[in-house]
Amino acid sequence: MSNNKQAWPTPKLYGVGHFIEFNLYREALMIAKSKGYINKALLISEIPQRVKGLLLIDSISETVYADLIRELVHYGFIKREAKNDLYRIVDEGLCYLELCYNNEDEARDMLLNKMQNVFITPAWFVNRLWELNSTGQGQIVIPLPLKNWHPKLRKWSDNSWTDELGAVSKETIRLVKKKIAGSFPYDEDEWVKDISAEYHRLGSQSPRINNPEIPDDAVNYSQRNRLSLAMKTIAVKKFFSRYNPINGEMDFPNKRSDMTHRSFMVWCPRLENFNLICYTDNNPEVPGRLLYPISSFKFDCSSQDFLLKEFISDVNNRKLYVHNPKWNSVKDIFISTLLEVYQSYYNKQTIIYISLQDIRDEVCRLLRISPFLFEKFLNNTYEMSVRHEINYSISLETDIRLDMKVQINRRGVYLNGIMYSLIAIKPL
């Protein structure tokens, strides 16, 4: 890579809108089609009632509508009328809208193509993951403090960096590095130094409180929360800025603002929706967000298990291939992996019903498949067990264990439209 003199093209748009639900594009275009135009005010009044049922949108701020319109304009789906603040849908937009209803896969591809052209991020992000951990197939961890660390609250004014904080920061990344080799290419001392600086910076701001009458020194803060935020910010800055920490070059020699933690949080689910990467915040053994690509750049690939995305290429003109294996070719390995993962989680938790989401995340990581494929393959396996074609009985349940309450916002596992949250597997 180091002999690569070519740089990524300059993005047309820098800031990504803080929303992850692709349906928002479709709904906005629908409104534009039926009403003849859209603008921010119209979207504010129309969109909320249309997306009410979607779990992932709890509240949409006004900025999001502005961002949505901006993105649609850049994708070439809508055009602004010269004189006023009205946007009208154009042919490209109509085309996308039609695909949304007739061919979801093509609609997704079209959107990915547009997003790639405007932001450059999708391809660059996948490539960056591969560069960061080339031996571990792009697995990266954005760490959070060790799960069993629960420090006391501190006064806002007490912003000192303690030995305990340093030890936790070190222990955390030591664990992460041990858990997945190469998943955290960051020097330990440098990491602690950067974290402590960020921790100080966060503490030197005035506290965000609603009541201005409360003096700053009466405010307490959670050390865990502050250290978490510092870790996320620092790790994202290191791994996903335009400066390439592996080869020391600038991926975007011109201007391009660095990816903030907030944008990172938007890009992860967007790219997961395109089946380019997967991530989980709930790996029971790794503290933090574990993410990895399920696609890679190749000059050529004859395997049937990959889906070519011709319109996406890296700076070396390699094409993007998404891992999309057929059931017949992965059947055996899928079933054996499912059993292995279940068994290893069972051994640790000694509870028969294990979180299906946890199992899904781990199987997806081991087999590098998307959550969609997992659902499809699990369904196939389930049917096989019903027909006694495998010697295991699989039981799927929908329930929330007490310790899983927090996971309600996590992507569910759906089989035939029903969400399941627990799985038990027993030999027949």
């Binding site: 571990g136 069993n148 664990l175 858990k179 291939y321 891992h323 640790k348 081991l366 087999l367």
Partner: protein, 449 residues
């Protein structure tokens, strides 16, 4: 004899004693480290108790509860959240037994006649008010045979039996002697006179109205008048009144000075109560124990010891203060030591730890003269104690497991190394809860992209 109608379980003695080679008749330690007060097994019913461990607590119990005017006392857990099995229930049961065996003669230096009742509420909804507790107390009294003692004391106190009561008559034969009308007649006692004396006391206590009933004074009718067949509604409506007024009068008539209620696991009640119920409990405690119009408040006859967890202390605090109880028994703060017994984890004194193990070992030894800690070595005992966080319940459970392992593997001695291995094994399954972080790498990705 293989017919299912005849088959019986083998008696325990008939099964080969697999602990024999270690010199035991059974595993000396309880397999479930919990106290079951009514069990016949001495390992679990709390009768094996090493007073030495709890010397301080026993002293506090004497000074703050038995021989003090306090009516409400607290037993607080110093180990706070550290885990169960520190021995509160065993302690309460031990105190109950040591009071009841001589009706408090020793513990009060012969000053008073005492009786202790142990109650442990369940987490059911029906155990949320003081009248529910009153019902449990009454049931416990029945179970413990208090009313037989009361009856016999009443008869004895009539002054008509002075000549015939001697050392041969004790709790075990009350029913055949003092409580038996025919036996009394044989001894030449005027049963009718005795009975009317007893009857009078019952009427005074308000237990029955009919003083003229012919057989009113014999044990059967005495029992019947106290029969625990009153319905839930009765207990809801008048339970507290009945116990703290009528029964109190009856016990007083039998010349008891105090009755000590040992309420274990009060947090089970408190945690499930809503705020109104908590308030009502505190108000009722004050009414019935301190300054209400019932005779218990006047005489200060019943004393109650609540076992409180630090958590329920917080829950109870505002209501406790609102009911004004903190002036009589403070739930926290400087004066709380006046009415509280603080329960501490075991000390690290080697002799004490050994004695705890010995007292259990001895109970099951074939050779009763053996006072050693065999088959354990000293290091093994110390290590087990350390790993059980100095909580006796966990310690005993661990020794139980070690004995089982010794039997399986035919170990003659159990040394530290064996305990270390066993401890690691038993904790492997709990790695999620322990502090040690499992840092084994995740499996490698199986697919090359």
């Amino acid at each position: 004899m293989d017919n299912n109608l005849f088959r019986r379980p083998k008696k325990v003695e008939e099964i080969d004693n697999k602990y024999g080679f270690l010199g035991f008749t059974q595993n000396p330690f309880p397999n479930e480290p919990a106290v079951k007060p009514y069990s016949a097994d001495s390992r679990v019913n709390g009768s094996i108790f090493l007073e030495k461990i709890r010397e301080e607590e026993i002293k506090d119990f004497k000074d703050h509860i038995v021989n003090a005017p306090n009516k409400i006392g607290l037993l607080m857990d110093y180990a706070a959240y550290k885990g169960r099995g520190i021995g509160k229930t065993a302690f309460l049961n031990h105190m109950k037994n040591s009071i009841n065996i001589d009706l408090g003669n020793a513990i009060s230096n012969s000053d008073s006649v005492l009786y202790a009742v142990y109650v442990s509420p369940s987490a059911d909804k029906k155990n949320r008010t003081l009248s529910d507790v009153a019902h449990s107390i009454f049931t416990s009294m029945h179970k413990e045979g208090l009313f037989l003692t009361v009856f016999c004391r009443l008869r004895a106190l009539s002054g008509l039996l002075d000549d015939i009561i001697d050392d041969n008559i004790n709790e075990s034969n009350y029913e055949d002697t003092i409580a038996n009308d025919d036996w009394l007649k044989e001894q030449g006692v005027d049963v009718h006179k005795v009975n009317s004396f007893v009857m009078n006391e019952l009427v005074n206590a308000g237990i029955t109205n009919d003083a003229s009933s012919l057989f009113g004074g014999n044990y059967q009718s005495f029992k019947a008048s106290l029969e625990d067949n009153k319905n839930e509604f009765f207990w809801k409506k008048q339970g507290s009144e009945y116990l703290f007024n009528n029964i109190e009068k009856l016990l007083k008539a039998a010349m008891f000075t105090n009755c000590i209620i040992l309420l274990d696991e009060a947090e089970k009640m408190i945690q499930y109560q809503n705020s109104n119920e908590r308030r009502a409990l505190c108000d009722n405690l004050r009414y019935y124990f301190i300054d209400g119009s019932c005779s218990n408040a006047v005489d200060g006859f019943f004393k109650i010891v609540l076992t409180i967890h630090p958590n329920s202390q917080e829950l109870l605090m505002p209501h406790w203060a609102a009911a004004g109880l903190d002036r009589f028994c403070s739930l926290g703060g400087d004066t709380s030591s006046e009415n509280s017994i603080f329960f501490k984890p075991m000390s690290s004194d080697v002799l004490m730890i050994n004695e705890l193990a010995e007292i259990y070992l001895k109970e099951s030894r074939i050779n009763k003269k053996d006072n050693s800690i065999n088959p354990f070595t000293q290091e093994a005992i110390n290590y087990a104690m350390e790993k059980s966080d100095r909580i006796p319940g966990r310690f005993l459970r661990m020794l139980y497991l070690m004995i089982e392992k010794a039997v399986q593997n035919h170990w003659e001695t159990i040394d530290k190394d064996k305990v270390v291995v066993a401890w690691q094994e038993s904790n492997k399954n709990y790695s999620l809860t322990s502090n040690a972080v499992d840092d084994t790498p995740l499996p490698e990705t199986k697919i090359e992209l």
